[in-house]
């Protein structure tokens, strides 16, 4: 059941990227898609009634550690993409003084 919720978040993120005109809203949509994919991965490795994979004494059934290790990498890559996208939109705002992608495309075309 939870898997369908992560897909719901994924569709909201995709709608944010595709539907929105504002640059910052597109970047927020990008973040939502990234977190939806991370949630999906964590849910793949989840098993009912098991604890975090820290092997202290007497810890028996443990959640699958591999997706969690992969998601550390994906989170950092999500940070890199967001930071770069923000820097690029900052530069575009300094040049075109608008954050609306269709305006920017019009201004850039007749430059």
């Amino acid at each position: 059941m939870e898997f369908y919720l992560t897909f719901l978040i994924l569709f909201i993120g995709i709608w944010g990227i595709v539907g929105k005109e504002n640059l910052i809203k597109k970047i927020i949509g990008l973040n939502i898609t990234n977190s939806a994919v991370i949630l999906f991965f964590i849910l793949i490795g989840h098993r009912r009634g098991s604890t975090a994979p820290i092997m202290e004494k007497g810890v028996k059934n443990v959640v699958d550690p591999l997706p969690q290790a992969l998601m550390l990498t994906t989170i950092v890559i999500g940070i890199c993409l967001t930071a770069l996208a923000l820097a690029l939109s900052l530069k575009m705002y300094r040049k075109y003084h608008t954050l609306d992608i269709s305006q920017i495309e019009k201004l850039a075309k007749d430059e």
Partner: protein, 96 residues
Amino acid sequence: MSKKWAKEILILLIIMLLGIIFFSGFYPHLPLNLAVSEHYVARGERETGAINIVSSIYLGYRAFDTLGETIALLVTVSSIVFLLEKKEERNIGKRR
């Protein structure tokens, strides 16, 4: 104004279609075979010395991913510094 609404509805329709495809192609109750993660859980502590298995995976078994990802962070930081530095800072680098 109507053109904007038509676009919104088109996008929502396409995403609905995407939803149907995702739900049809996805099977949550698939029997998972966990040969690899069983190995990590069972022998992770002895082979890498770390009790936190997630640390032992992303720093021991798959340390190459982490190297690649640190390189990604390094490239992002130096590109942001390159993009957003002001003109006079760039000349300082040259003059010295």
